[in-house]
Symmetry: C2
């Protein structure tokens, strides 16, 4: 049941080993200090997780966190965080997803779920307002995500139950398996699905019958109206073409990752673009709770590749990773790959980047058909890509190696393979090319989770693409900056805008809607927070939460033994393209290292990237020990 | 003439040596980066002043700066900054005053006046909208501030002309002479009057016939209305008793500076309190442009001490410095001393602290009647205090020494005197006792100008005095803090709230009206800035301006040879009181030094208090060389 007097819900604690459930209420100051999402998850992990544990052991924790604004009818406020120690990187793991699950959880009266231990048998959690049960899930084992969704809804006799779950890949603890809700929204990265799988927890099903109390509901309505009047200006392209709308522009600029980042232009770009998708296989536009932008795709393919719209359609990241990165120009094959990943609960980015890596190793004759069970694993071979997805999910043959990610696989394949392993801290690179938008390089190197594209906006956004600089002016970023600039001005730009993405990850706000790319201004987000909570918060205070979040994740990693040595990019990004618009545009390694050190100093970290005691005190984080 | 299309005015540049005037227009981004006030003044000084110059030479600059919001009809937005290199400290000098002068200057179309060189003969500047003249001022020399006000208004035939001027003390370059407007509002500290005197510039008279253009005049009206509905809650005491309302509360807590900071309670406190003033000599309540709080006093005394209301009445600082600090319990004598200082253009704080120092030296027999021209310079001797003011103004006998301030005088009096010299960096301590509100100690030690009480709010405000913590919650300061706490939590509290005072000094907002003490919230200040400029600024961006301002002043001082060694307190504050509520409450020197170092680190300064290159870049200040 919802707490009718406040935006504050309960924390559900689940001890799977003992099958015990309990709830607690946090004091309000903790909400003001951490808001929710990745920040609150970081708080729980730093306080309750022992250092050095095996991520797939019962000692790991799996934390689901909403935020104070989750579930408000404001578009974008539907996101939640899942966090743990990553089985892919051994570092801090957090990933966000939109959809419907988090609002439902919040309306049911819960702000977070903290899961510990391991269940003796497969289970799922069933939350129905104040009632929480652990239910047997043995009959779900091996089933696809779609099947499980149907079975749970049938057995609980309610088609509107919201379900966050892993797929069979998570059950098998593929190191980059994900958590999905509605089979179309993903806490995608760094293997949170494997952690959930290791705990024998297949799903968390939620149903609420009430909504939350807000301090100023009228103000919330006004913000929603303001959004409604503005979103078409900022986000029409997302409606029309989804995130895949970017394919052609990136290709033109020479930064569409192609054939495992060997190139930045793909001859098949047009065939796999968002425009082509809209013109061919698109049957519907999906969306998250309360959002009119409908950036999600639903595609249907019949013929060689049968693709059901139930599993959505490929995002830009998926088109890149299963498409251009693998040299594949068949949109239908990519859609099929996307469907398989979503059915099985595999992160499409890591899946694609791992397969592309294997393809390059195959072409370089580091591996051969003896290793691939006879599959001709060449760039451009769509069927090989699809077969690899099956093998990864089944831990079959080479799939059992690939299922552990690029970094592990490179070690297995031997020293010649290392240079093709496109990852940072063990997380596979997503579909953004640092050589053409260098702030992305800083982001990959510095992000606590590894090569993550959701930790900062891309500097290109404020230059060539002409996105509104206005959106970041409240940060004092009042002058445009070149995408290739790697001076301290770029580091400043990165440091400030990174905080906005980090804020979005803590407050559960979609980065396409919250600043800097979306229709909601930073002021809207401050106002929304106040309208929900009755606080008098400011952008200053919210950015300090973002800074806390980053700093907690950093401290987590330091405690786990990571260091500044891990804040690096794959060698390939320091080598120039041999063709295309960015021919000869390598990143200068010395400039890059200087920029990383400058970033440390800007954050109040020492030259080894360790937050100073004074910085921890300034952020009210002096309770952290590492 | 006012620029009717924008809030942006002109910069008036005055070369007194050549008698040349010119104007220029700054690009808008400079306003967004620096706002005005002390920040914009710091920008001009760092860019245009050579290092190592003699502050009283033609090489010094004198900069008057309004801000973007100056002259709006919002109470508190009437303040302006004067800045230069200080002849008292050799460091960065800046001081703010309210009144009517700055709005008039702004309406006349000027945002700043930059004065260089020295005039061959005494002059004053006459600004009448677009017309600017240098006029002879030989006939004003030696006249009191009140006389000069009358003479100028008479000769320019307008009784509504606003005049910022020095008095005879400024002409004689007393090192703590001030600049005054309306004879009741003072850019008081660190000797800006002496710099103006050194340039033979007696006054700047201004008359405007128009007002400014604002982006959103309706929003400005709303903010004014909101203020009108709230100010009695926060500021009734200031209306009733002026700043002197604090005398009794401070005395009760044992932190009313008494007999040169030897004690914290004064037996004559009641006699000199704001309540007694209201009950006896108060004849009117004065105010700044557009402000209903009327915190200014106007007093009339007849009898032994004749005091004219024309020169206002004593502030708390004056009651402390000419009263309890000198052991004087005659409110009438204090009022007379106040009148003399205001007539002559002397900063009452430095005047009082210097006299109190001399009194202690007299009682300790470091000096005697041979030095004082026969005056019995004992604590409690009101007539001696008044005679000293005359001697200081006239550079007469011991007055010629005292006119150079406590630090200089202590050197003249010899080593035994040093321990009684209550100053930081050469600026005399104001009437706030660090032993009872320890954040004030940090403020004194760290402020670029020396012992200044207008650089940060007093931590006591958020504890024992019960002022609303709500006002600083937008900074994330959501938990109260003890006035004696000297942990890193206090440093954080100090560092954040200091930025608000610094913001007030840059945006020309009264600290009694802007947060944290006043009726305007931090949000109001952000909104006001946007309503004037049409920007979408935030508290984050405004606080970064404040940080810039502090950092520029720091860099100025480093360039002038100051170092972390100068960030210290007088020894007396490390010794306990021997009686009173704070008996045995000395500041722990080691804890204090640690707190200063912690502050450096929080600011992004190295352990020597030098801003790092990364910090300068983060603040967009990488143009600074020092």
């Amino acid at each position: 049941m919802v707490n009718k007097d406040s935006y504050i819900g309960k924390i559900l604690r689940v001890d799977l080993t003992r099958g015990k459930l309990k709830t607690e209420i946090l004091e309000e100051n903790l909400y003001r200090k951490y808001l929710g999402g990745s920040s609150l998850a970081g708080y729980f992990l730093l306080n309750e997780l022992k250092k050095g544990i095996d991520p797939l052991s019962p000692e790991n924790m799996l934390v689901f966190t909403c935020s104070v604004i989750t579930g408000t009818p404001v578009p974008g406020a539907s996101r939640f965080t899942v966090a743990a120690k990553s089985p892919l990187t051994g570092a801090f793991a957090e990933a966000e997803a939109g959809g419907w699950w988090a609002p439902e959880l919040k309306w049911a009266g819960y702000d977070a779920i903290i899961i510990k231990g391991v269940s003796p048998k497969p289970v799922y959690i069933w939350i129905h307002n104040n009632k929480v049960e652990l239910r047997h899930a043995g009959h779900l084992t091996g089933k696809t995500t779609g099947e499980v969704e149907h079975i749970i809804r049938d057995e609980l006799k309610d088609n509107n139950i919201r379900i966050a779950q892993i797929g069979p890949a998570g059950e098998k603890m593929v190191r980059y398996s994900c958590i999905t809700n509605e089979c179309k929204h993903f806490n995608g990265r760094v293997g949170l699905g494997a952690v959930m799988g290791s705990k024998k927890l297949r799903a968390i099903a939620v149903k609420a019958t009430s909504k939350n109390h807000y301090a100023d509901p009228e103000r919330i309505k006004e913000i929603t109206k303001e959004f409604a009047s503005k979103w078409k200006e900022t986000s029409q392209g997302l409606y029309d073409y989804g995130t895949a709308g970017g394919v052609l522009g990136l290709n033109e600029k020479g930064i569409l990752p192609t054939r495992n980042f060997q190139e930045g232009q793909f001859e098949g770009a047009e065939a796999i673009s968002g425009v082509t998708m809209a013109d061919t296989i698109l049957v519907n536009r999906g969306h998250c709770y309360a959002c009119p932008i409908r950036c999600k795709r639903e595609v249907k393919v019949e013929g060689i590749y049968d693709v059901e719209p139930y599993y959505g359609g490929p995002e830009y990241e998926t088109i890149g990773s299963l498409g251009s990165l693998c040299g594949i120009d068949s949109l239908e094959a990519i859609a099929k790959g996307n469907e398989l990943c979503n059915k099985y609960g595999l992160d499409t980015i890591s899946t694609g980047t791992t397969i592309a890596f294997a393809m390059e190793c195959f072409e370089e004759e580091i591996i051969d058909k003896n290793d691939t069970n006879g599959i001709d694993l060449k760039f451009g071979n769509a069927d090989a890509m699809l077969e690899m997805i099956e093998k990864i999910k089944n831990l079959d043959g080479i799939g059992a190696i690939l299922a552990r990610g690029v970094a592990y696989t490179a070690k297995e394949f031997g020293p010649r393979a290392e240079k093709f392993a496109m990852h940072v801290k063990g997380e596979e690179c997503p579909m953004h090319e640092p050589r053409g938008k260098i702030g992305v390089g800083l982001q990959y190197a510095i992000s606590p989770t590894g090569a993550d594209h959701m930790e900062a906006p891309h500097d290109l956004s404020f230059t060539d693409y002409g996105l509104p600089l206005d959106s970041v002016k409240p940060l004092g970023l009042i002058e445009p900056i070149d995408a290739h600039d790697l001076s301290s001005k770029k580091v400043r730009f990165f440091s400030y805008t990174q905080k906005i993405y980090s804020l979005c990850n803590s407050i559960g706000m979609c980065q396409f809607i919250g600043a800097p790319m979306g229709a909601l201004s930073l002021k809207n987000i401050v106002d929304l927070t106040n309208a929900v909570t009755g606080w008098n918060t400011s952008l200053f205070e919210l950015i300090k939460v973002a800074e806390k979040s980053n700093t907690m994740a950093r401290c987590f990693n330091l405690r786990e033994g990571l260091s500044s040595k891990d804040d690096k990019l794959p060698d390939r990004f320091f080598e120039a393209f041999t063709s295309g618009p960015l021919k000869d545009k390598a990143i200068n390694r010395q400039e890059f290292d200087t920029a990383v050190k400058t970033y440390y100093a800007m954050e109040g970290w020492d030259e080894n990237g360790v937050p100073t005691k004074a910085k921890l005190a300034e952020l009210d984080l002096d309770w952290i020990e590492f």
